[in-house]
Symmetry: C2
Subunit: 204 residues, 2 copies
Amino acid sequence: MTDKKSKKSYHHGNLRAELLVHTLSVVENEGPEAVSGRAAAKAVGVAPAAVYRHFPDKRALLTACAASAFDQLADAIEARKSDSQPQEMAQFRAEGEAYIAFALHRPNLFRLMFRGDVIDGEDEEFLRASGRLQTAPGNGMGDPGSPEGAVSILGWAVVHGLATLAIDSQLDRELPANLVERERVLTSMISHMGPVFRTLGVKD
Amino acid sequence: MTDKKSKKSYHHGNLRAELLVHTLSVVENEGPEAVSGRAAAKAVGVAPAAVYRHFPDKRALLTACAASAFDQLADAIEARKSDSQPQEMAQFRAEGEAYIAFALHRPNLFRLMFRGDVIDGEDEEFLRASGRLQTAPGNGMGDPGSPEGAVSILGWAVVHGLATLAIDSQLDRELPANLVERERVLTSMISHMGPVFRTLGVKD
DNA sequence: TTTCTGAAGTGATCATTGATCACATTATCA
DNA sequence: TGATAATGTGATCAATGATCACTTCAGAAA
């Protein structure tokens, strides 16, 4: 990881970034509850109190992780979206696949993003990152009464619902155990939303 | 709460139940993170260690809360379901409304139910309670490839997705701030699923 | 170059918490 | 009436989040 600059200079030089990386991996592997500021400090080779020079408290550390997660998801969605035709239904399917893939492959990180109790929803960086997502799928957001609004919200809800139910093991009996299979079945279910989209005036 | 039987008998007599009630209210009001075994003990008027006579650890305490929550939700759904016509679409709408109402009115409790990291998913009592829910909406569960399976899963996913996104403040810009309004808009969106149900062969 | 100032890291310390242990008390039932 | 197991107590431990006064050092100012 950190290349062995064996001589430890009093000042670390890259502490904030490394703390973030380490915490992200802890969250991803063991969940947010397993995060410990002290452990992170030790892992990076620094005194426990040093953490507080870069993050006012534990919540800020986790918030930074959540922001990074939102960025990663938004990146994945944009990447997948760009190499698909701009037909709306196809776009939606592509975005949905990226969303579900992210949730299935990095469940702990995905869950953290929506844990309003553990993160600071007012944080600037967090708002920016999570904002990227809100504008991505629900490009035509706004009034849920309008067809466009209803479509974007319903679409997001289905995808988000499938993803969360799956990773919270509420669909274990209905879904294959194998991860790849699971992903395939879930994304295939997105297509069933076709009729809704057609009814609300979305072109294929 | 506990009526003032001022003479404290060495044995409490109802500890487990009262600990559960107290913890449920803490979860509901402040979230699972705010739960403290010691605080609960003090609130009920007992030594910290007494808690461990009834719950092996904190996780077990939270798991019991989650089980209770599942029971309450299942009760609410069954109640609402019974006084609606047995036409499938109407049933689904009724169940969805109950589901969303529960989530909106008791968000912290609702969230706890799906927090696999904090609760013990193997717990017998928890499995029984959460099982009630799985059979309730997805009465025709099973293969997601079959129309019945797809309908039940999709339906649950939409409702669950709408509920979680709403309480995790991801729809604040799209939804009214007022709780009752919010509930109305969300449940009204369920109807948009009509076309999917029709296509998959569900009668109105 | 030298000086000085603020950012970054340290070690000590505190209160709180989850958990365990030996012990005390009492409900239950043989 | 006793014995026994269930239930509650108080002491105690290790870990954690957080704060404080103190050091170290990098970079701007002189």
